[in-house]
């Protein structure tokens, strides 16, 4: 025996998504003609909403936007070339230093080999770190410049 009608929210819930509705609501609607009529009104409304024409732009949005973007980059190839140039310059620099200042290396004769290695490894690590940081900064700035 139906003693109380469904609320508007319950009616809507059934009209919009009856398969995920509480059993109580479905049973009430099955028995109650008044609530069933309300459901039918909502179903009609939803049908009307779904029949609305899909809005679309009357211009080629993709084309217009792509024209405004920076042209395809060849940065990867450029970046690799740049890395090789830096590496070669580094090797040439160290080669030059060793060749020109050979006499100064006699100063290290008194120092144990292990210390020389430690100093060299530390210097190279710091150098690599600085180069990477500089390169990252360079890439970031280039990106900003590309967009504006």
């Amino acid at each position: 025996m139906v003693t109380k009608h469904l609320t508007d929210d319950e009616v809507q819930q059934y009209a919009v998504d009856k398969f995920n509705c509480e059993k109580r609501i479905a049973e009430h609607i099955h028995l109650c003609e008044e609530c069933r009529t309300k459901v039918e009104v909502y179903q009609l409304l939803v049908k009307g909403i779904k029949q609305q024409p899909q809005p679309a732009f009357d211009f080629d949005l993709s084309k217009i936007v792509l024209q405004q973007l920076p042209s395809p980059k060849t940065t990867i190839a450029n970046d690799k070339a740049l890395a090789w140039i830096f590496a070669l310059m580094g090797i040439a620099f160290f080669g030059g230093v060793i060749y020109l200042f050979q006499s100064y290396f006699d100063l290290f004769e008194g120092i144990r080999t292990i210390f020389i290695y430690l100093i060299a490894i530390t210097a190279i690590t710091v150098l690599i770190y600085l180069v990477i940081e500089m390169y990252k900064k360079y890439q970031k700035e280039m990106k900003v410049l590309d967009l504006y």
Partner: protein, 205 residues
């Protein structure tokens, strides 16, 4: 769940290609999400010229922000969010009303409506659909939707036409899912009331 994972993989693939310098791939992203963007813009912005500018603005922003996209939602949802915010900014600039308080003072005409429906029930044994034969329900509903505030039109369109979940709509609009649900119920109720008044006027019932 699987489709979401698949979507995410596709999104990631497309984003990675754009970020690696294949600018043209951004065109695929535009094509994939253009319908959603159009829905939001058409519901929120009235002026045609503004719509064109905003659509371009949205995708330029998307391109600029793409390196920061964390794949915490679908790419389309994220783009929808940017689109919605861009529309909001535009409306604010133009000082246009986003959501009037038409639902704050809900006219409790439910008794009146109930009477109308009872009358209908008494007069007709056929289902409601039968009464709109010869009448273009789509046209009638369209006019009613146009009267709704921008945010409610957008929610209706995203839920019923784009078939997004409450959570997805919440992500786009920045509203909690519960609020989205509540607004949708109110918007449909308002449309229904308006629709019934229309039928009364047209002596359909």
């Amino acid at each position: 769940m699987n489709s979401n994972t698949g979507q995410n993989t596709t999104d990631r693939h497309l984003v990675d290609r754009v970020l690696s310098g294949e600018t043209n791939v951004f065109g695929i992203i535009i094509k994939n999400t253009e319908n959603l963007v159009a829905k939001i813009i058409f519901e929120m912005i009235v002026n045609d010229g503004d719509r064109k500018d905003i659509a371009q603005d949205v995708y330029i922003k998307v391109y600029q922000k793409l390196p920061g996209f964390k794949f915490q939602s679908k790419l389309s949802t994220w783009i929808g969010q940017i689109c919605y915010n861009t529309c909001i900014d535009h409306l604010r600039k133009k000082k246009l009303v986003l959501a009037e308080n038409i639902f704050e003072t809900e006219t409790d005409s439910s008794n009146e409506l109930l009477d109308m429906m009872n009358t209908a029930q008494g007069n007709f044994d056929e289902p409601v659909d039968t009464f709109v034969i010869g009448k273009n329900i789509s046209e009638i509903v369209k006019k009613k939707i146009e009267k709704l505030p921008a945010i409610y039109k957008t929610l209706i369109s995203l839920y019923h036409n784009e078939e997004l979940s409450y959570d997805e709509i919440g992500t786009i609009t920045g509203l909690p899912a519960g609020t989205v649900k509540s607004y949708l119920f109110r918007a449909r109720r308002e449309l229904k009331n308006d629709l019934l008044l229309h039928y009364k006027k047209e002596d359909l019932w």
